[in-house]
């Protein structure tokens, strides 16, 4: 997957140096104020808004020629949009690509945090569709900015309370809001709430880019992150109550795959690198091919 040279028609990593500098300033500000949404002058990228333009711009601003880039969508390296974004950087930055979480220096992700724990020096870039955790409670940006400034999060707690009153549980299963260092309420992007515990105390730098909404925010390494909850209704990460049918993993997030029209299903790791690494190490699941057992 090596692409040693970048397309000479474009500047390294597509964006011009002044634009990258502007984005790096926003990233630094985001790191200095964890969880705060920094407005930035998002550029029009050659992929559509909503398809990762924020993440792509953040990645472009972070990349150096020595980097090794991993791109995942839904946890998988081979989903079409992950392929498309990886190709974009192979062409415009000529960086080396990898599917191994442990080998990557920059990982761009949509909707998942890799199962393999990240390490110091790695950067995890999230693609964010709606950066504002209060958006569906208050549609006006002018109003939500004021609420963040005053740490006026009563509305969010009322919403969570109403969920419990109505459904007996907090009815949010992904993009589950978190509180960062006791200050800003932040949208972790639409990761399943199963991934929320990996946000806090993470040794890697976590950067969040929302292109269409022109916002960047960040979690520096080892930031305290708390998923919002109540003392009597504590936060619970959840996943399908199965083991991976290919590698037997019991603690990884699973995709449910419908395998025929009789209602048969199988469950497989959504993190393809994690699953493959385990299978290569000899782990087997319920539906592993016979000869491999």
């Amino acid at each position: 997957m090596n692409a040693p040279h970048h397309d000479p028609d474009y500047n390294f990593a597509y964006l011009d140096e002044q634009t990258k500098r502007m984005i790096r300033r926003a990233i630094l500000k985001g790191i200095a104020v964890p969880g705060y949404q920094v407005p930035f002058a998002s550029r029009e990228m050659p992929m559509p808004y909503g398809w990762g333009t924020g993440g792509v711009q953040v990645t472009a601003a972070c990349l150096v020629p020595e980097d090794r880039l991993k791109v995942i969508d839904q946890g998988a390296d081979d989903t079409t949009n992950a392929v498309s974004i990886r190709r974009f950087f192979q062409r415009t930055a000529g960086v080396e690509a990898t599917e191994k979480t442990t080998e990557a220096s920059v990982i761009q992700t949509r909707h998942r945090i890799p199962e393999t724990p990240l390490t110091e020096g790695q950067i995890l870039v999230y693609q964010v569709p709606i950066p504002e955790p209060l958006r569906f409670l208050e549609p006006r940006e002018s109003e939500t900015r004021r609420m963040h400034a005053l740490a006026d999060y009563g509305l969010m707690h009322v919403k969570l309370y109403e969920d419990i009153a109505r459904h007996g549980a907090i009815a949010t299963s992904y993009a589950y809001p978190v509180e960062v260092e006791g200050r800003y309420v932040m949208d972790p992007s639409p990761i399943p709430k199963f991934d929320n515990p990996k946000l806090g105390g993470n040794p890697a730098i976590q950067l969040f880019g929302a292109g269409r909404e022109q916002r960047i925010y960040a979690l520096p390494p080892y930031t305290a992150v708390r998923s919002l909850d109540f003392e009597d209704y504590p936060f619970e990460p959840s996943k399908a109550n199965h083991d991976c049918d290919l590698c037997g993993a019991s603690g990884s997030y699973l995709d449910e795959v419908i395998t025929d029209d009789q209602g048969s299903r199988m469950f497989v790791c959504s993190d393809t690198d994690y699953c493959e690494t385990r299978r290569n190490a000899g782990h087997r699941g319920r539906l592993s091919p016979e000869e491999a057992r």
Binding site: Y10, Y14, D16, P39, F40, A41, S42, R43, E44, P46, P48, Y49, G50, W51, T53, D73, Q74, G75, A76, D78, T79, T80, N81, A82, V83, S84, R110, H111, R112, P129, R140, E141, S142, H167, A169, A171, S173, Y174, A175, P190, P192, K193, F194, R212, Q214, S238, K239, A240, L246, Y253, L254, D255, E256, V257, T259, D260, M266, V268, S270, L287
Partner: protein, 363 residues
């Protein structure tokens, strides 16, 4: 049988090849040239330049060809290309009163210095399909006349002299640039106008139409609509003066709006303004109506809660590239999120059924 999502790379390649084939269509039919699109689909080219915020008819024609005639896709191609261009600086404000006019009409005065010029307009054509165009007809030749020698000043300036028109003091501050700074609200009028001129024609049209139907009524007359070319000049610091670097075709619309006065302003006529690349008069008129509706605060008018008066609503939703991208992204895989929703619904259902069974047993 587990069908993995593997093969994304090959699928993408095959899809792109198929797309290229479909773009060409039947190879027995001659291929469209860029020049043909530029010359014969000029209004589509204009729309792509206006919403793409890049004045280059050849590139816009190329984008239309590449996008198979999907104009929003063509705008997208132009916008993405625009990102890669360096910014040298701002031009001197263009002098639209010195425009070389091809069309100039006023709905408020029967005649005005400089006269009315209908120009190449669909107005007053009967919308009957012209079957002659199905055969390759010879180009028809319009009569020509020398341009009127007298100047054609802006018609609203003439009202201005009597004090009936709201004054519009000139100021030379550099307008903000939406493409270089994040949108922050409240926006200034120059920023709003910038957003509207590159906004989706359909969206701006519908917003304008809604004001005519009573949602934020603005009582607009087309004071003047003019189309023509203007010189673009730029100050060159090394030279110490401005030089002409090219010319652009523009459509400019100024509306006159009835205004009976408010707590802060006396009764007078007020203005809405539209300025769009190319011959784009539907867009320019729409823009001037929406501009006027958005000015309610500065004129001390009542907020009726109409969508067209709501700056945040209009500015955040007028861009078709943002809108189409976000809308279409729901085609992307969401199975991780959907999986977590499945689990949540299954759990809530199980709990609800358990509660119901418990109640039944108790009854």
């Amino acid at each position: 049988m587990y069908v993995a999502v593997k093969g994304g790379e090959r699928a993408i390649e095959a899809a792109h090849d198929w797309l290229a084939e479909e773009r060409r269509g039947n190879p027995e039919v001659p291929e469209l040239s860029i020049a043909q699109i530029r010359e014969q689909m000029a209004l589509a080219v204009n729309r792509v330049m206006a919403e793409g915020s890049l004045y280059d008819p050849d590139l816009a024609a190329l984008a239309i060809k590449q996008a198979r005639g999907d104009l929003i896709e063509a705008v997208f191609l132009i916008r993405a290309y625009r990102t890669t261009l360096p910014r040298f600086g701002g031009s001197v404000p263009v002098e639209t009163d010195k425009m070389a006019l091809i069309r100039r009409i006023s709905a408020t005065f029967k005649d005005a210095p400089g006269g009315q010029v209908l120009g190449p307009t669909f107005d007053y054509t009967h919308r009957l399909l012209d079957f002659k165009l199905m055969a390759e007809g010879a180009a028809s030749q319009a009569q020509t006349r020398d341009a009127a020698p007298e100047p054609a000043p802006h018609i609203l300036q003439l009202l201005d002299r009597d004090g009936l028109m709201e004054p519009q003091p000139r100021h030379d501050s550099t307008p903000p640039d939406l493409t270089r700074a994040p949108l922050e609200l409240p926006a200034t009028r120059p920023l709003r106008l910038q957003a509207l001129t590159r906004g989706d024609e359909g969206f701006v049209l519908s917003m304008a139409y809604s004001t005519q139907r009573g949602y934020g009524r603005t009582h607009a007359f087309v004071g003047e609509l003019r189309i023509g070319t203007v010189a673009v000049e730029m100050d060159i610091p090394e030279l110490g003066f401005a030089v002409e670097i090219g010319e652009v075709e523009l459509t400019e619309c100024e509306t006159v709006n009835q205004f009976t006065g408010s707590k802060t302003e006396p009764p007078q006529f007020t203005r809405g303004y539209g300025l769009v690349f190319g011959q784009s008069e539907r867009k320019a008129i729409s823009m001037s109506l929406v501009d006027r509706a958005l000015r309610w605060k500065e004129l001390g008018e009542e907020d009726t809660g109409a969508p067209a008066q709501d700056e945040e609503f209009v500015l955040y939703h007028c861009d078709n590239i943002q809108a189409t991208g976000f809308l279409e992204h729901i085609k992307l895989p969401h199975y991780v999120d959907f999986q977590s929703e499945l689990e949540l619904i299954r759990r809530l259902r199980a709990e609800a059924q358990a509660t119901a069974a418990h109640q039944e047993a108790a009854e």
